[in-house]
């Protein structure tokens, strides 16, 4: 099956393509240790993780779970155990050792007793495990779980998607318990590092600010970071061409380059949104071609306009939610960058001073860069993508004093 243009949702199998560079880099990091994969939503993080599940590295067993809804360490243990038990190799291992000592094995074997564990019975297994889990036993049981996993013949990759969300849930419910869990989890990672178990923690929200609030940012210092990067513009043109070929809508030979020119970025998601809107427009007038001159109006009216406003509005609202006293300074910087494609760091510092902002310009720029708003090249600062710049110009009013 040809690859299709699927902008946003998780893609798997033949729909996941064009990310070989990221896959290889991530695998290389996982060879060395545990990884925190952080990227905004819709950047393809979950799809990338799923590709490691669907096409695992040779001799690797991969288990993946999404824990955004998990609210307690005990629930995490249940979910993780239930996910592991579906893996036949691990299930066989546990069945072989079920008569062995240890609370975990007793708990897990009792939970799956009499159940032919497969996807259609996993719920039943979870209910049993949940019922038989004594309060406050999760640290002990989970430690034993990881110990058991280290006996596994294969390398084991645990992909835990939306890990930061789960931790945020823990913090919301019981900050002390959350810290306890993170401490314990770091200890488990450190114990298993030299063995064959790896964890890939994915997240679309930045965990560090929450931990900073608790003064516990060191609890994830051991994790290697991997950031998804956009395609180069040349790669982006090839990517767009491949997508359009796969979609079966006739297009001008210059259309892919025009799409990249107009979006002025190599972020897959941005490109795919534009492609999707262009295709919709072309299909709306059945039989018509996706011509070069269609691209820019669609970009201006639909991608930057109301139909997609909500898709990108978090760039605007996030400043309010997370930037605190640096919000106005950040808005001033971004407003200036909509007017001037590149600004020097010193000029921005001057403008902020003139606007009465008593904040560190480097602090503001670092934050904006880590949140994918801007990029820096030596002393020069610009929007991370032309698309974001256009969107900002169209949708976000400049704060007073920005000009």
């Amino acid at each position: 099956m040809n690859a299709r243009n699927i902008a946003g949702p998780l893609v798997r199998g033949s729909d996941f393509w064009g990310r070989d560079r990221d896959r290889s880099a991530l695998c290389a990091l996982l060879d060395k240790g545990d990884v925190l994969l952080n990227a905004p939503r819709r950047y393809g993080k979950s799809s990338l993780m799923c590709s490691l599940l669907d096409q695992p590295q040779p001799a690797w067993t991969v288990v993946m779970l999404d824990v955004e809804y998990v609210e307690s360490p005990a629930e995490f243990l249940t979910e993780l155990s239930a996910a592991l038990v579906q893996t036949s190799a691990i299930r066989k291992l546990w069945e072989k050792t079920k008569r062995g000592p240890g609370a975990f094995l007793s708990w897990i074997t009792a939970g799956i007793e009499g159940i032919e564990v497969g996807a259609e019975n996993i719920g039943h297994a979870k209910l049993n495990l949940r019922k038989s889990l004594a309060p406050d036993t999760w640290p002990e049981l989970t430690e034993q779980l990881f110990s058991e996993l280290s006996h596994h013949d294969h390398n084991l990759l645990l992909i835990i998607d939306e890990f930061p969300w789960m931790i945020a849930n823990f913090i919301d419910q019981n900050p002390e318990q959350a810290v306890h869990f993170l401490k314990w989890f770091r200890a488990v990672r450190q114990k298993t590092r030299k063995r064959s178990v790896r964890t890939l923690l994915g997240g679309s929200v930045n965990l560090e600010p929450r931990l900073e609030e608790l003064g516990r940012e060191a609890l994830i210092n051991d994790l290697q970071r991997y950031h998804l990067r956009p395609l180069s513009l040349a790669e982006a043109v090839s990517f767009v061409r491949e997508v359009l070929d796969a979609e079966g809508v006739p297009f001008d030979s210059e259309t892919p380059a025009e799409i990249v020119r107009v979006a002025d970025c190599g972020v897959h998601f941005f490109l795919q949104v534009l492609i999707s809107e262009c295709l919709a427009e072309a299909r709306h007038h059945a039989g018509s071609k996706l011509t070069v001159d269609l691209v820019e109006p669609v970009y201006k009216e639909r991608v930057l306009g109301p139909p997609n406003r909500s898709r990108f509005s978090h760039y605007h609202t996030r400043l309010k939610q997370h930037y605190g006293s640096r919000e106005r300074a950040a808005r001033i910087v971004l407003a200036l960058l909509t007017e001037q494609e590149r600004e020097s760091r010193d000029h921005l510092a001057e403008v902020l001073r003139a606007a009465g902002e008593d904040v560190s310009v480097d602090g503001v720029l670092a934050l904006l860069e880590s949140d994918y708003y801007i990029s820096r090249e030596l002393d020069l600062v610009s929007f991370s993508s032309g698309f974001l710049r256009d969107w900002w110009l169209r949708n976000v009013p400049a704060p007073a004093g920005a000009r």
Partner: protein, 852 residues
Amino acid sequence: MTHAFGPLLFNPARASFNELEQTFVGRRALLDQLEADLLADAKGKTARHWQLIGPRGTGKSHFTELLGHRLRERGWAVVRLPEEHYQVASVGELLEQIVVRLDHLELSPFRDTASARDVEEQGLDYLRRWRKQHAGPILVILENLGLLFERQLTSVREQSRLREILMRDAPFVLLTTSTSYLESTGRHAAPFYDFFHVHTLDELSRTEVANLVEARARWDQEEALLRDYGSVKARLDALYHLSGGNPRLVLALYSIIRQGITSELHHQLLKLLDDVTPYYQARLRDITPQMERVLIEMALADGPLTPSELARRCRMATNQVTANVTKLVAERLVRPGSRPDARRRYYQVSDRLFRIWLQMREDTTAKQKLKFLIEFFQSWYRDSIDVLKKDVDRLGDAFWSELRQGLSRQCDDRLLTLDYMRAAVPEYPPDLILQSLRDSRERPTGAAVEEQVRLLQPLYDSIADPNHRLVIGYLLAVAHEHGGDSRRALSLLKELIDEEAGTPTFSGEVWMLYLNMLSDVEGPKAALRAGAKAVTANPHLFGLKSRLACWSAELGLAEDAFRLAEEFIATSTCPHCKARTTAQLVRSFLRVGKVRNAKRALGLATWSGTDQELGALKMLLLRRKEGDQELLIADLQDAMSLYDQEKALPNWLLAEAVCSLSHAPSHEARAASLLKEAARRRGHLDSAMLEHMFEVLIRMASADARPFGELVSWVVANGSPQLIRECFVSDMPALIRQTGLSGALRLYRELRNVGILPPDLPPYSTAEIVEASPEPTKVLESLHPEVREAVSLLLRHNSSVEDAGALPSRGKGSMGDAQAQRTSDGPPPGARTGRGRAARAHPADSRRRTER
């Protein structure tokens, strides 16, 4: 065929696959694409879930129902969850509902499970097992996702869990619908942020609206409509305008095309608005008060507004308004407007139905006259005034027909519809309703005038709307007038125009009728006084000046007449009205022999030289001398030779011809023919025409002994019995006296035989006794002298009576002298009240009445 209300109540879930397919318009490419995507996803590993966004009524249910049908045919299981989600407060319960509907279970298999989270796991296991046992995938259609996320599954945990289930190895594909983008899928931090693959259903284009109507008509086998589809297309713009391309509204309005403008239009739209009220109330609760304020201001505006204009109207800062407009645009409640001003942005409420609903709620005047309905009629009748006239006439006919059937509520609805239609076309006469109802072919006339009064009176007494009361009161007054009861008509009209009583009216028709009645009862001076006061107090009534000018001319107030006519001509924008006023003034001067003033009056008109009336008048004026008051038959014949097609004769000329021919011997047949034509034009036979007809009849009776034939039957069929009776009693003596004709007794017998006249009406019954007596002379001589004289006139043809020398010499004495009978044989001829007999004695006055 569809049900009585057509597809307004169209419920896609109840429609057949064939009907859904045949009436599906505008979204076929999207449906095909989605179907193909679902089939492709089912073969691959990517599991997408879908959100179909479209304002209410854009056809989401039709779309999903059709998609469900198509997928079932391809082996899918399709589960449709109820829109309200009452039984769903957790992911577990959502899964439980899917299970119950998937296997059509009466009871949930998890009914004994206490924990919703446990049901979650059980439900997932159940569905996964189902998938393992069945080849086909499952499509779950969940309508109104907003309601689910914003009322039922509100917690982050529940939404996160559902997302997790859907994201990886979901046992089903979820297809959701919503009326707008949702906070729960648009907020970056929300679990379902940008999760669904979204398709939007936009409003239909003009062409698609036309296609939808045609498809619907084909399905409904509306052969007549399809045969005439070319002309229907001209009306589709109006449908597009009101519906804004919203398919539900298009289908609701489609019934108009099927049935024409009917009073059901209001009921259907009001019901539609009732139905959507809870939804729109909820929508308003979802937005901030400032957004609501801005939205309402837009809804009440006549067209798109700029943010600065909105800011002025809302008394808010422009940047505040801009921020709120941006949010409203994001909510799809507002969209950029369509005004051709490139420099500034205009905005308007995007959901037409929502706009209508807000108008209904916010604008008290709109409750009476929905702006949208007026806009609709404006659009409907744009460049089609002739169609408007036809529809107005049709509604007028329906009014009378329903009135006969005692359907007073429907009559009120007809008036309301006419009200909207009139308001929609400002250039159309303000008295459109009065005129259409008065001139309706269905209005009872002739013998049925009494029936008309009987029907209208209770409606007049019960009707609440002052405008409608005015209309019914007017019709009632017209009925009284036609029934010969000027005093009752006058009294009623006085009630209608009495400003002190709180019911002032600007209706020129009502005032005109009132003044005419006043002139009849109290004389033209009284009418002139009242009219002059009215036009001074109320400039809207300037149309009365035309009539006042004529009265002034006839009363010798030439300068007043010229002033009033000039004022009318200066104010009126209607060239025909100006010409007609000129013609009427000329004739008024002619009636009183003021030829010079008539010539001067003729100069008031800007005359193109083609106007029939003015042309005929000009010709007549050349033959007149100052002081001449009678029109010469030769003049008329000359005039008529110019316009020899009788049907094309102007009314006044027809009246002149009727009057002259009915006085002329040997022209009875032609006079009768013209009288019939005059009566047809007026819609009834009035007293002036009756008087002429009586003269024609007695001339015929005097000329030969042949029977009257159908002419008497025609009179009986077209005149009120009461009016015929009264005219006969009051007018016949003068006619006999003036003409010396002897046919009156024969006419009496004819009318007595059909029950119009009593068998003992003096002096006619007395004349019959004398005539039947073997010795008529003796009997005659035994009578009171005045009675004897009256009887003698009636029996003029009887030689034995004539020989008795009882007859007075012609032209002397009078039948009026027979009034002495009032002491012996009952009321004398001419004793009838209220019609201004003296005034009508002059032929010119008869003409004036006929022309009115």
